[in-house]
């Protein structure tokens, strides 16, 4: 069956979901998170065209996102001042994409001549270069302040003026869907297949007629197009663009999204973008140590589940296909495993929070709030409590994990038996 039409129910479901989400989550805060999610889904998928599909690890991909953002901000501002002819605001991601594409073609020409470590280093170099430029080329970047713009410009067809956040949400949602479909389509084209081939065995590709540098360059340019489209939507969402959008930190964040979600599956970066956007918006208000936790999540995924969240889910696909009952037999051991892990994490997080508070706060007041309870970090009692909780949690995990492994092996053996018989 054809790869695109087979998936049309999924795209329709996604479209319906995008349409109704604002009715489910009605607060302005939630709407903002949803919009951010849309932007980062595009960006993470674009990033994965390099990392997952093409095998190129970039530490500087935010420059196409951010630069397209700056170009978009200037463009909208100039349109508002009527210094430029009117371009439909609803199509602004095409402008951002073009800006990203051009930057990607230029930088990619240099960086994609090499793969592997050299490529990664060059990407980092360009990332730092552009970040530094934001403080030097003030006329374009306006330093640390960044650029403010007003998205409410030009005619208002059907009352669409992007004056309200909900209109911006739908703009992002529609473009997010279009970009997802386009990027999925790309994986099914000759270019997409050869991009995978270059990732898996670049040497062999040369002997079947393909210039590997050309394949990588094309992947890089197309990826920059989508990163640019995401960047312009980011500006539409905030009506502001700052140096952090091009920064290496932003490049790292999109790397985290793609990797934690899973680079081996198309859906992976989507999951990663959703999860990290939610955590970023909620946890960053709750704890100062948010980046520490993000780093921990990343390390755990790299070490224990290199396929990311999507990899974990897809691991269960053969089980589900063989028999849903087999999958059900894993539920209880999983619940034990997750519950015991949560206990251990609860203690660990308590300690990290107290440590963080003590090392970053310079007031005489030594008490802070953890899990909604006021604790005195100078007293030994909370420390003891958290140490005990962690210890108990670890002890329980040592009981529950073998159970999970045992059930998993039993299920796999069962499937093997069925395949033989």
């Amino acid at each position: 069956m054809n790869g695109m039409t087979k998936n049309s129910p999924i795209w329709i479901a996604a479209a319906v979901l995008f349409a109704i989400l604002p009715f489910i989550f009605q607060s302005g805060f939630a709407l903002n998170i949803l919009s951010q999610m849309g932007v980062f889904i595009i960006f993470a998928l674009a990033y994965n065209m390099l990392l997952g599909q093409g095998g190129m690890l970039s530490f500087g991909h935010a420059i196409y996102f951010g630069l397209a953002g700056y170009f978009t901000a200037h463009f909208i501002t100039l349109m508002g001042e009527e210094a430029l002819p009117y371009f439909p605001i609803s199509l602004i991601p095409l402008f951002g994409g073009l800006a990203g594409l051009i930057c990607g073609i230029v930088v990619g020409y240099v960086s994609t001549r090499r793969a592997g470590t050299t490529f990664a280093m060059i990407s980092l170099g360009f990332g730092e270069l552009v970040t530094a430029s934001t403080l030097i080329l003030i006329a374009f970047f306006n330093g640390e302040e960044g650029i403010q713009t007003d998205r409410w410009v030009g005619p208002e067809p059907f009352g669409i003026n992007y004056g309200s956040d909900i209109q911006v949400y739908y703009l992002i949602a529609i473009w997010c869907l279009l970009c997802m479909i386009a990027m999925f389509f790309l994986t099914k084209t000759p270019f997409g297949r050869m991009s995978n081939a270059v990732r898996d065995n670049a040497e062999r590709v040369q002997f079947i007629g393909y210039n590997t540098q050309r394949v990588r360059w094309l992947a890089f340019a197309l990826s920059s197009f989508f990163a640019g489209a995401a960047g312009s939507l980011h500006v539409m969402n905030y009506e502001h663009v700052g140096f952090e959008t091009v920064s290496v930190a932003q490049s790292g964040l999109v790397l985290f999204m793609a990797y934690i979600g899973g680079v081996g599956h198309f859906i992976g970066p989507v999951l990663g973008a959703i999860l990290i956007t939610i955590l970023n918006s909620t946890l960053s208000d709750l704890t100062e140590a948010w980046f520490l936790y993000l780093g921990l999540i990343f390390v755990v995924i790299v070490l224990f589940s290199p396929g990311g969240l999507a990899g974990i889910v897809m691991m269960h696909e053969p089980i589900w296909k063989t028999s849903p009952r087999l999958l059900a037999s894993l539920v209880v051991p999983y619940i034990y495993g997750i519950a015991t892990t949560l206990v251990a994490l609860c203690g660990l997080i308590g300690m990290i929070e107290m440590l963080y508070y003590r090392s970053t706060t310079f007031s005489a007041d030594t008490s802070t709030s953890i899990y909604g309870v006021t604790v005195d970090t100078a007293s030994v009692v909370p420390w003891l409590v958290f140490i005990v909780v962690t210890g108990v949690g670890v002890y329980l995990c040592r009981m529950s994990y073998p159970g999970m492994a045992h059930s998993w092996n039993a299920v796999i053996n069962d499937i093997k038996q069925r395949m033989v018989s």
Partner: protein, 249 residues
């Protein structure tokens, strides 16, 4: 008769060691040419020079009257030269079918297209199926290539090489490490895929060589000491001394 491949004074050194010394070689269109020689003689290196993986240190190589010396591997491949590798060189994570399809795409003119769905291209599908059938892996089409048995991987290696329908096929030890019956199957496959094409093959199995080849070249220490019809090679004193007299590997 058309000359398919012509080497003139081809030389290659790695650092100070000269591996290939002034090799001259003519291979006619349609010839089934075997290259034999002891381990380390430089057979694979010669393949790498012809197919563009390495640059020559001297001399010229031409392919159907076009000079290909020091061209990029993909340029040489596009001109119709397909090669396989001594150590299996496939796309292990992709299915057998996808492996072959990668080999088909350039020759069917799809190049870097990012505006066509690959599975909608009838020419690609037909050619891929054809090659799949030819190498006898139809039953394993959706298996990841890395999970195939060794001899199936070797068959796939040949499949990728011929997928783009090259004019000349170069196979580097296609039967190495195979059992007797697997070797027989491989020989049948090689015979089938090289029909109407020029074949150059490195091979250690003398049974295979004398069975398949119209002509044999003997490479010893980077020099071709004889290039002749099989019966003449068998009776050549220099060859017997240098190569056939010693134990096979």
């Amino acid at each position: 008769m058309t000359t398919a491949l012509q080497l003139k004074d081809v030389a290659k050194s790695f650092g100070n060691t000269q591996i290939i010394r002034d090799v001259d070689l003519d291979i006619a269109h349609g010839e089934l040419h075997a290259m034999i020689g002891p381990n380390g003689a430089g057979k694979s290196t010669l393949f790498n020079l012809i197919s563009g993986k390495y640059h020559v240190s001297g001399g010229t190589i031409s392919f159907y009257d076009s000079e290909i010396t020091n061209k990029e591997p993909y340029e040489i491949s596009r001109m119709g030269l397909g090669r396989s590798f001594q150590v299996t060189n496939i796309f292990p994570r992709m299915s057998v079918y996808e492996n072959l399809r990668c080999g088909v795409l350039w020759s069917t003119g799809h190049r870097y297209s990012f505006w066509h769905l690959v599975n909608r291209q009838r020419d690609v599908n037909e050619r891929t199926e054809e090659v799949l059938e030819m190498i006898g892996l139809t039953g394993r089409r959706d298996v990841p290539a890395g999970m195939l048995s060794y001899s199936d991987q070797r068959a796939l290696e040949i499949g990728i090489t011929i997928a783009g329908d090259p004019k000349m096929i170069m196979l580097d030890e296609p039967t190495a490490g195979m059992s007797h019956s697997e070797t027989e199957q491989a020989v049948a496959l090689i015979r089938k895929v090289s029909k109407g094409k020029t074949l150059v093959m490195v091979e250690h199995d003398m049974g295979v060589v004398f069975d398949l080849a119209d002509k044999i070249s003997v490479l010893v220490y980077g020099e071709i000491i004889a290039s002749d019809a099989p019966q003449n090679i068998r009776n050549n004193a220099a060859v017997q001394e240098a190569y056939l007299g010693t134990e096979q590997h």
